[in-house]
C-alpha cells in the first residue's frame, strides 16, 4: 500500500531518475495531482486481478524479425547534422565524472 506521506520524497527521487529538475511549484502541482490520481486509481487495487494476464500490446505478436540482410545505415553526415556538438565522426559531450 502506498503511503501518501511518502509521495513528496518519491517525487524527488522520480524526478532525478527522469533527469529532470522540478521547480518547487511543479513538485507541489504533481504531488496534489498524484494524490488525486492514486485515489481515482483505487479500482486497480480493489479488482481481483491475480489470474489476469497483462496486455502490453494490443495484439498478440510474436517476435517480428526482418530478413537477415545487410542494409545501408544512416549516412554519418545525416546522423551528426542535428548534434549540438560534434567533432569529425563523434558526438561531443561534457566529461562523464563530476
Amino acid at each position: 500500500m502506498i503511503k501518501l506521506e511518502s509521495i513528496k520524497e518519491d517525487i524527488k527521487k522520480a524526478a532525478l531518475d527522469a533527469r529532470i529538475n522540478l521547480a518547487p511549484v511543479e513538485e507541489t502541482s504533481l504531488e496534489n495531482q498524484l494524490k488525486d490520481l492514486l485515489k481515482q486509481a483505487a479500482f486497480l487495487r480493489e479488482q481481483e486481478l491475480d489470474m489476469v494476464e497483462p496486455t502490453f500490446f494490443p495484439h498478440n505478436q510474436q517476435n517480428t524479425l526482418r530478413e537477415d540482410n545487410v542494409l545501408p545505415s544512416m549516412p554519418l553526415d545525416n546522423a551528426l547534422e542535428n548534434a549540438p556538438e560534434a567533432d569529425d565522426t563523434f558526438f561531443l559531450v561534457p566529461k562523464i565524472v563530476e
Binding site: R19, L37, E53, N78, P94, E98
Partner: protein, 429 residues
C-alpha cells in the same frame, strides 16, 4: 488557403514554402484513391525531410529530421501536396492544444475556445483536405469533435508509425482527420499496409476502402451504453438499417485512468533519448549527468516534466506492482469487454468527448492528471480497436461551437464499416 487566417488560429508551426509563395494547393474533396493535387498537413511530431519537426517543444525547436514518415511519403507518392506542419500539444501530451511551445490553437468556430489541435483546425476551415496526427488517448477524435470534422483512429498496426515521434508506443497510432468520409477513405487506403520499418505494423491485406465505403449498408447491430441511449436517439440511426440495443459495460469507465498510467510509464521510457547528445536543445552542464538534467529541464514544459516524473515514479517497485502492472491487467479486462461486446454487435456507440471544446480563457496551464477529455476515447487505444468520430447535428452545439461528436468503435480491422456508417450519416444529414 488563407495563410493569415491560419496564423491567427495558430494552426501551423511551419508551412511548405510553395504555399507561402502563393502556389495553388488543391482543396477539393477526394473522390477516388488518386490523391493528385489534394492538400494535406502533418502534425509536427510526424517527421519530414523538408520541414522541421518540433513536436511543439522547445527541445526540438530546430530539429530537422534526416528521414520522413512512411505515411506522409505514401500520400506524396500519390500526388498529395504537403501544406505544412500543424501545431499540437507538446509531444502530444494534453488534449487541449494548449501545452504547445508555440502557443494554443484557436478553434475556427469560436476563437475563444481550443481547437484541440492545429490539424483539426486546418481541416475545419478548409486550409487542407486531410491531416494526419497522432492518437495516443484519443487526441485525433477529440480535436475532430471540437472542430466539427471527422477523425479516425485505425486499428493498431494498420498504419505504419515509422517517422512518428511517439511517446506511448503501445497506445499511439497515426490517425486521419478529414471533412468527409470519401477523403478519409482515400487517405486510409493510401497510408495503410505493412511496413518493415515498423515492427508493430501488420501484414494484413488493405481493403479498397474508397470503393467499399460507398457500398450500401444492410443490417447493423449497434450497442450503446445505457447512460447514452438518448445520444443514440438523437443520432437518428435509421431503424431499418440500425438495430440499437443498450448494453452495460462494467469496466469501460476505468479506461481513462488505466491508459494514463500506462502512457506515463511508456513516455518515461520512450523519451529518455531527449538528452541533448545527438539532437535537440542542449543545456550547459559541468558534467554529463548535469547536462542531461539541464537539457531536459530547459527543453520541456512543466506539463511534460511532471508527466515524465509521474511515469518514472509509477515505474518503481511498489508503484509498479500496485499500479502499472495492475493497469496492464485491467487493460486485458477492458479489451476483452469490448471484444465480447463487438462479437454480439457490429458497432459500439459512445460520445467522442464529455464536453464541447474547452475555453482558452480559463487559463488552464500545466498538467492535468488525468485529462477527462479522454474519458470515452482511451478505451480504443488500450484495446487497439478502430474508432471514428463524426459530428452529430442537433446535439450539444453551444457558443458558436459545432455539434457534439459521436464515436463509433468496431472490431479490429473493420474500418470499412466505420467509413460506411459515417458516409450513411453524411447523406442522412
Amino acid at each position: 488557403m488563407d495563410i493569415n487566417k491560419m496564423k491567427s488560429l495558430n494552426a501551423f508551426i511551419s508551412f511548405n514554402p510553395a504555399v507561402t509563395s502563393g502556389k495553388q494547393i488543391g482543396q477539393a474533396s477526394v473522390k477516388t484513391a488518386a490523391l493528385d493535387g489534394t492538400s494535406f498537413a502533418l502534425a509536427d511530431n510526424i517527421c519530414t525531410t523538408t520541414l522541421k519537426t518540433t513536436c511543439a517543444s522547445r527541445t526540438l525547436e530546430a530539429y530537422q529530421p534526416a528521414f520522413g514518415s512512411i505515411a506522409g511519403q505514401k500520400l506524396e507518392d500519390k500526388g498529395a501536396l504537403l501544406v505544412g506542419k500543424t501545431n499540437m500539444d507538446e509531444f502530444g501530451m494534453g488534449t487541449w492544444g494548449q501545452s504547445s511551445y508555440f502557443g494554443a490553437v484557436k478553434n475556427p468556430w469560436n476563437e475563444k475556445h481550443t481547437a484541440g489541435s492545429g490539424a483539426a483546425a486546418a481541416v475545419a476551415c478548409g486550409a487542407v483536405t486531410l491531416a494526419l496526427a497522432a492518437d495516443r488517448l484519443g487526441e485525433v477524435r477529440q480535436a475532430a469533435a471540437y472542430c466539427g470534422v471527422i477523425g479516425l483512429k485505425p486499428t493498431y498496426g494498420r498504419v505504419s508509425r515509422s517517422g512518428l515521434i511517439d511517446c506511448a508506443p503501445s497506445l499511439e497510432q497515426l490517425g486521419i482527420i478529414a471533412k468527409d468520409s470519401a477523403s478519409l477513405a482515400a487517405a486510409l487506403e493510401t497510408i495503410s499496409g505493412h511496413d518493415p520499418k515498423d515492427t508493430t505494423s501488420f501484414k494484413t491485406e488493405v481493403p479498397p476502402y474508397v470503393n467499399l465505403s460507398q457500398e450500401k449498408l444492410n443490417s447493423v447491430k449497434v450497442a450503446v451504453p445505457e447512460e447514452w441511449k438518448a445520444f443514440a436517439d438523437v443520432a437518428g440511426l435509421n431503424k431499418t438499417i440500425f438495430q440499437v440495443k443498450t448494453v452495460s459495460l462494467q469496466f469501460f469507465k476505468h479506461a481513462l485512468v488505466t491508459a494514463y498510467i500506462i502512457a506515463a510509464v511508456e513516455a518515461f521510457s520512450s523519451m529518455s533519448n531527449f538528452d541533448g547528445v545527438r539532437f535537440g536543445l542542449r543545456g550547459e552542464g559541468k558534467h554529463l549527468q548535469e547536462m542531461y538534467r539541464l537539457t531536459r529541464t530547459k527543453g520541456f514544459s512543466s506539463l511534460v516534466k511532471e508527466f515524465l516524473t509521474f511515469g518514472a515514479l509509477i515505474s518503481y517497485g511498489k508503484y509498479y506492482k500496485d499500479y502499472f502492472l495492475r493497469a496492464q491487467k485491467m487493460r486485458s479486462i477492458i479489451k476483452k469487454e469490448l471484444e465480447d461486446c463487438l462479437q454480439q454487435y457490429d458497432l459500439l456507440l459512445v460520445p467522442a468527448v464529455p464536453f464541447n471544446a474547452p475555453s482558452l480563457e480559463n487559463g488552464v496551464t500545466g498538467s492535468k492528471l488525468p485529462d477527462n477529455a479522454a474519458y470515452y476515447s482511451a478505451a480504443a487505444n488500450l484495446s487497439g480497436l478502430p474508432a471514428i468520430t463524426c459530428p452529430l447535428p442537433g446535439y450539444g452545439a453551444a457558443e458558436g461551437l459545432p455539434a457534439a461528436g459521436l464515436q463509433l468503435m468496431a472490431k479490429a480491422w473493420n474500418e470499412t464499416l466505420l467509413l460506411q456508417t459515417v458516409r450513411f450519416l453524411e447523406k442522412e444529414q
